[in-house]
């Protein structure tokens, strides 16, 4: 038998109606979905009451981006995304990697490449992701330069960006040695020697990278530590500073955008 439609409840005076549930309370009528929602809100409220993070979240997410913002403005976040991809694939590679120049390093990379499930795929993502990240860094820098976005008041953010560019290049240089095949080994020897010809600090930098005057047993673990601990930490911290300044100062408008003049505002009462 088909269900008959319910008759609407008779109009009751407000005084006799049951009051709606207060925020954070449930009158038990909403069912499990409403209860779950209320529980979620309660948890967020509990955290927010103790951290006041919701203000920062609103400040970050609901700030306005100026008129005329176009696809070129996604290059920065794309770079950050490439870095995240490098971080995730890097963590998985680190689970198998052994920084042992006596053969363990090469063997562990061979194991990842040939035997681990999806190993070659993840290693390929890490390897080619570095190229993609370098290209994105340069495109992002090119956009910033062409749009004059390094000018007042964003000079400091440009400087942070240049440090990030250098760290990205150092990241790629130190990562190049880790597979410890012929290509990696000889390119690194040449690279460290080139460093050594630099002015003033060049020879000291080479000695630091090699962990001595010659390419030795601790060189690989030194590159490994720089590649896995030092640089990722520095890059994460600087990306944080970079993003803070972007949110604080706002993204630039394209240089050809002009603010619409409202003639009403130009009227002068005499």
């Amino acid at each position: 038998m088909p269900k008959l439609p319910k008759l609407p409840a008779p109009p009751l005076p407000a005084a006799l109606q049951e009051p709606p549930p207060r925020p954070g309370e449930s009158n038990g009528k909403g069912g499990p979905i409403e209860d779950a929602k209320a529980a979620g809100i309660n948890v967020v409220d509990w955290v927010d009451e103790r951290t006041s993070l919701s203000g920062a979240g609103r400040w970050l997410m609901f700030r306005k981006v100026p008129k005329g913002t176009n696809w070129f403005y996604t290059l920065g976040s794309a770079t950050m995304f490439a870095f995240l991809s490098q971080a995730v694939t890097g963590v998985f590679l680190a689970m198998y990697y052994r920084p042992d120049p006596a053969g363990g390093a090469y063997e562990s990379i061979r194991h990842v490449t040939n035997e681990v499930f999806l190993g070659q795929f993840v290693r390929g993502m890490h390897k080619w992701g570095s190229s993609v990240m370098v290209i994105l860094v340069f495109l992002h820098m090119g956009r910033t330069f062409l749009f004059g976005a390094y000018k007042y008041p964003r000079e400091l953010n440009w400087v942070i960006g240049v440090v990030l560019l250098i760290l990205t290049m150092v990241m790629s240089f130190t990562g190049y040695l880790l597979p410890f095949d012929q290509r990696a080994y000889w390119a690194t020897i040449v690279g460290v020697n080139i460093n050594g010809t630099g002015p003033l600090i060049g020879p000291y930098l080479s000695d630091f990278l090699r962990a001595g005057p010659e390419f030795g047993a601790t060189t690989l673990s030194r590159f490994y530590a720089i590649h896995m601990l030092l640089l990722p930490g520095a890059i994460v911290a600087l990306i944080g500073a970079h993003l803070y300044l972007v949110a604080k100062l706002g993204t630039t408008a394209p240089p050809w955008m002009k603010a619409e003049q409202n003639p009403e505002l130009r009227k002068v009462d005499v």
């Binding site: 997410m61 390897k127 040449v190 630099g198």
Partner: protein
């Protein structure tokens, strides 16, 4: 930018920002779409190009031509082109160090208020020049050999002899090129001036037998070449004994 220009910029920017859209969801949607594209590119490259692993690193090898990652090619090429040792520090100082310092200081020496590309001719010319130079050097570096290539004309006597003599000379040159000799030896315009002795006129100081003996039983840290196949070994000796 003087104070008036700064204030003008901030006011103009304030209006443009007020007329804009909120970051979430408009900019976030674009960024998300871009992230998907980046991910797709990385995955495609990984699937198509794979991750090759070359032969295991062998520090005693003598036949490996080192290649850096492609985005260091331009630096590699600069070092290959600039050969006189007095100019090498200039290349290593000039290209990376001064370039980086200029890049750092860009917002401090370019302080004009103008932001439109077409009204910043100096900046645009610099941009195109630097970009073009880097692209050109990268292209050159991608097609170039090792920085230790031997660029020495074949002596006329060998050319006239032709046949087996010339073939042996060329093979010896190729082996010397690929053996990394020039990492420690100087040969004409090429190579480093230490720690090994200058090879430019080695044959006038050392007879062929002496060269062969040194190759078999060298002074450390030079590696011994006694494991080289006889044909290649003789070719190296033949090549080096022509350097008078």
């Amino acid at each position: 930018m003087n104070q008036r220009e700064k204030e003008e910029y901030l006011r103009e920017y304030g209006i443009l920002k007020a007329q804009g859209k909120p970051f979430f969801p408009y900019a976030v949607a674009k960024d998300g779409a871009m992230a998907v594209v980046v991910m797709a590119i990385i995955i495609t490259m990984s699937l198509v190009l794979g991750a090759e692993l070359g032969p295991k690193a062998n520090p005693t090898t003598t036949t490996y031509v080192p290649r850096p990652e492609w985005y260091f090619f331009f630096l590699f090429e600069v070092l290959r082109v600039i050969k006189p040792p007095s100019l090498v520090p200039l290349a290593t100082i000039g290209v990376p160090t001064i370039g980086m310092i200029l890049l750092f200081l860009l917002p401090f020496f370019d302080r004009g208020p103008e932001r439109r590309p077409e009204r910043r001719p100096i900046a645009m010319v610099t941009f195109v020049t630097v970009f073009g130079a880097m692209a050109f050097l990268t292209y050159q570096g991608a097609n170039a050999g090792s920085p230790f290539a031997v660029e020495k004309p074949t002596p006329p006597a060998v050319k006239q002899a032709g046949g087996a003599t010339l073939a042996e000379y060329e093979l010896g040159k190729a082996v010397v090129t690929s053996s990394g000799c020039l990492a420690c030896h100087k040969l004409g315009e090429n190579g480093n001036s230490g720690p090994g002795p200058d090879l430019t006129h080695i044959a006038s100081r050392l007879p062929a037998q002496g060269i062969a003996r040194t190759l078999v039983n060298p002074t450390a840290p030079m590696p011994s070449f006694k494991n080289l196949p006889a044909q290649r070994f003789n070719a190296v000796v033949a090549f080096l004994s022509q350097l008078k």
